[in-house]
């Protein structure tokens, strides 16, 4: 148990990752798929950020009062990754809107059936 707790951040990452993928795979609703995708990406943010956190450390602003800082690099990276993620989801949503206009549905299998015809 303590071992699980010690690596809690990784366990959360894995659970998020798997549930995100599961939603993408299992849900037919295109928006829900995007939600799953978003959760999946979120797990990555956690994966990057959590190792950078040092217990008792503070934000990496140099000051005389502190000598223990968190690693700033993951924050920089993940800010970028979040922007990318937002752009992806926004584009995905836009596509879903267009698909709804064109097909009248956003259920993956219904669209799939319409295309087959």
């Amino acid at each position: 148990m303590t071992e699980i707790l010690a690596n809690l951040n990784y366990w959360v990452t894995i659970v998020l990752m798997i549930s995100g993928l599961y939603i993408v795979a299992a849900h037919g609703n295109m928006i829900k798929k995007l939600v799953g995708l978003s959760i999946f990406q979120t797990s990555v943010y956690l994966l990057f950020l959590s190792p950078g956190k040092i217990l008792g450390g503070t934000a990496p602003i140099i000051s005389k009062d502190f000598d223990l800082y968190s690693n700033p690099l993951p924050h920089v990276l993940i800010l970028t990754a979040i922007v990318v993620g937002v752009a992806t989801i926004a584009l995905g949503m836009a596509l879903v809107v267009r698909i709804h206009e064109a097909y009248g549905t956003i259920e993956d299998d219904e669209v799939h059936d319409m295309e087959r015809e």
């Binding site: 993928l21 993408v24 795979a25 299992a26 849900h27 037919g28 798929k33 993956d108 299998d109 799939h112």
Partner: protein, 566 residues
């Protein structure tokens, strides 16, 4: 002098100019090309002339020696005759393809290394297919595709063989190869396909009769004789060839006797004549190789002549089925005479060219003491007169009158046939003219009393049996039918197999993923039935299934990488 221009290249480059010419100018230009090319070939001394370095290899593009020279000459004669024969055509595709095809064949003959041989080898395949396609019938289209696949396949084998050989020996010069190595065997097979070895032969009977009237004339000259040249160069004296050749000389006879399409009959007889040449290569003595070269030379001419006469009939009547023809001698007298000259040549009548060359091969067989081979080849010679020499002219021009009264062949066709006939008789009467260009010195006297007599006996008794069998009604009735040959294997059997496989593949492709997902889902279904009425389990979601595959793959990779680590 323009010594260093490869003769084949002149034809190929010339072909590129043809589309820009019209009318008489085009005709003159077409005829000038082979003449110019022969002139250059005549002035080329023996030796290697045009070496370049490519693919990190030393390539000899133009190696002239007596063996390649005689094939070069006869190929030029053949394309010259072919051009005259096709001068009446308004379209240029056959001229173009014929020129490139013959140029490639000539290029291949003068190729001094296997890589340039391969390039020309494939070029003959690709350029010649248009001669069949130009017929523009669905059958021709299908036949041409089969032809192309087999021909390109031969080239591919050649490529594989040459790579292996290069790997083994580091040498790609085109000289004696032999069957000792894997590479040698593959190259042998590649040549064998083009030479129409038994069981590899059927592309010939399948495609040649489907080509245009002029196309078949040109086709008949190059591909197979190029293979004969290649075999003579690479595999002279290979014993296996003797038996391969003997079988080749015998088995087409049966098919030729029962075949109704006269151009197909000629295609089978082409195969039978190749058998004699292959035997000659297998014997491999100087006399035998001389005989092979001479036979290839005369064969190209008389077989072209026979195909020309059939082509003329096809041109005028639209058919060459024996069961549809007969009595044409009344309105096509010249064509019939030329056809008979061709027939006399192929059956090796004294005073015709076939007599000279076939005698050389038979004598070479006899001198080496191959008793059974000799007996069987004699049988094949007797058989030739049946299906090829008598059957073709008989059913086309005489036999029972079909009531068809076509016009005599166009003038250019007659001229081409006349020239070929003159060559047939000329070589038959003055064999020394042919002996002069043979690869080895000739000490052979074809015209001895004994030889003439035995040949005449063989021919006339055989002819008598034909006449009697026809009279008594024992000769197979010529009727519209399909005779199956080894093409059955790929047109029926293989087709069935391929259809099966592709069906399976297609079904797999479209269903495999979904089926797998479905199965996975069923499993999940049982485990997570309580997951509510959402009913994710009965449906298929393409995007979803893709993602699932990704996950599965991730799992597989993780597992494999970790296993490796343990």
């Amino acid at each position: 002098m323009m010594i260093d221009i490869p003769p084949g290249l002149i034809l190929i480059l010339g072909a590129l100019i043809v589309p820009f010419l019209k009318g008489y100018l085009r005709g003159v230009f077409l005829l000038a090309l082979p003449i110019l090319s022969s002139f250059i070939l005549y002035n080329l001394p023996d030796g290697s002339h045009f070496a370049i370095t490519a693919f990190g290899q030393h390539l000899e593009l133009l190696r002239v020696d007596p063996l390649s020279r005689i094939f070069g000459y006869v190929f030029l004669i053949a394309i010259f005759l072919g051009i005259i024969y096709s001068l009446h055509l308004r379209t240029i595709e056959e001229h173009l393809s014929g020129l490139i095809y013959s140029g490639a064949a000539i290029g291949a003959v003068f190729a001094g290394d296997l890589i340039s041989l391969f390039v020309y080898w494939e070029l003959t395949a690709i350029s010649s297919v248009f001669l069949i396609l130009a017929r523009r019938t669905p059958e021709a289209l299908a036949a041409s595709m089969r032809y192309l696949i087999i021909q390109v396949g031969s080239g591919v084998l050649l490529l594989a063989g040459l790579i292996i050989r290069w790997n083994e020996t580091g040498n790609i010069t085109f000289d004696h190869i032999g069957l000792e190595s894997v590479g040698g065997v593959l190259i042998f097979l590649a040549f064998g396909i083009k030479a129409a070895f038994p069981l590899l032969h059927n592309w010939l009977q399948d495609s040649y009769p489907q080509a245009t009237p002029t196309g078949t004339v040109i086709l008949s000259a190059f591909t197979t004789k190029l293979a004969i040249y290649a075999l003579a160069r690479g595999y002279a004296g290979t014993e296996e060839l003797i038996w391969i050749g003997t079988i080749m000389a015998i088995f087409p006879i049966f098919f030729a006797i029962i075949e109704n399409d006269l151009r197909r009959v000629l295609a089978y007889s082409l195969n039978n004549q190749l058998g004699f040449m292959v035997v000659g290569i297998g014997i491999g003595t100087e006399l035998a190789l001389n005989g092979t070269a001479a036979h290839a030379f005369s064969h190209i001419i008389y077989k072209a002549l026979l195909f020309m006469s059939m082509g003329a009939i096809l041109h005028r009547t639209g058919t060459v089925l024996a069961s549809e023809l007969g009595g044409l001698y009344k309105t096509m007298p010249f064509t019939s005479i030329f056809c008979i000259i061709g027939a006399a040549s192929i059956s090796a009548f004294p005073l015709f060219c076939g007599f000279i060359s076939k005698s050389m091969i038979l004598s070479a067989v006899a001198y080496e003491g191959h008793y059974w081979v000799w007996i069987l080849l004699l049988l094949a010679s007797a058989g030739v007169i049946h299906y090829s020499a008598i059957k073709v002219p008989y059913f086309a021009f005489f036999a029972n009158d079909s009531g068809k009264r076509p016009k005599e062949a166009p003038l250019n066709m007659l001229i081409a046939m006349a020239l070929a006939s003159i060559l047939c008789v000329g070589i038959g009467v003055w064999p020394s003219s042919l002996f002069y260009i043979l690869p080895f010195e000739v000490n052979y006297i074809p015209y001895t009393e004994s030889h003439i007599l035995s040949q005449l006996q063989l021919l006339f008794f055989s002819a008598l049996s034909f006449a009697v069998l026809i009279k008594l009604g024992f000769y197979p009735v010529q009727s519209k039918s399909t005779i199956i040959d080894t093409d059955w294997i790929y047109r029926r059997l293989a087709k069935a197999v391929v259809v099966l496989i592709t069906n399976v593949a297609l079904t797999l492709h479209s269903n495999l993923f979904e089926v797998t997902i479905l199965r996975a889902r069923r499993l999940v279904d049982q485990l997570y039935k309580h997951h509510g009425p959402q009913g994710i389990l009965a449906r298929t979601w393409p995007t979803g299934s893709m993602v699932l595959w990704v996950a599965i793959f991730l799992g597989i990779y993780l597992l494999l990488y970790f296993i490796k680590n343990i």
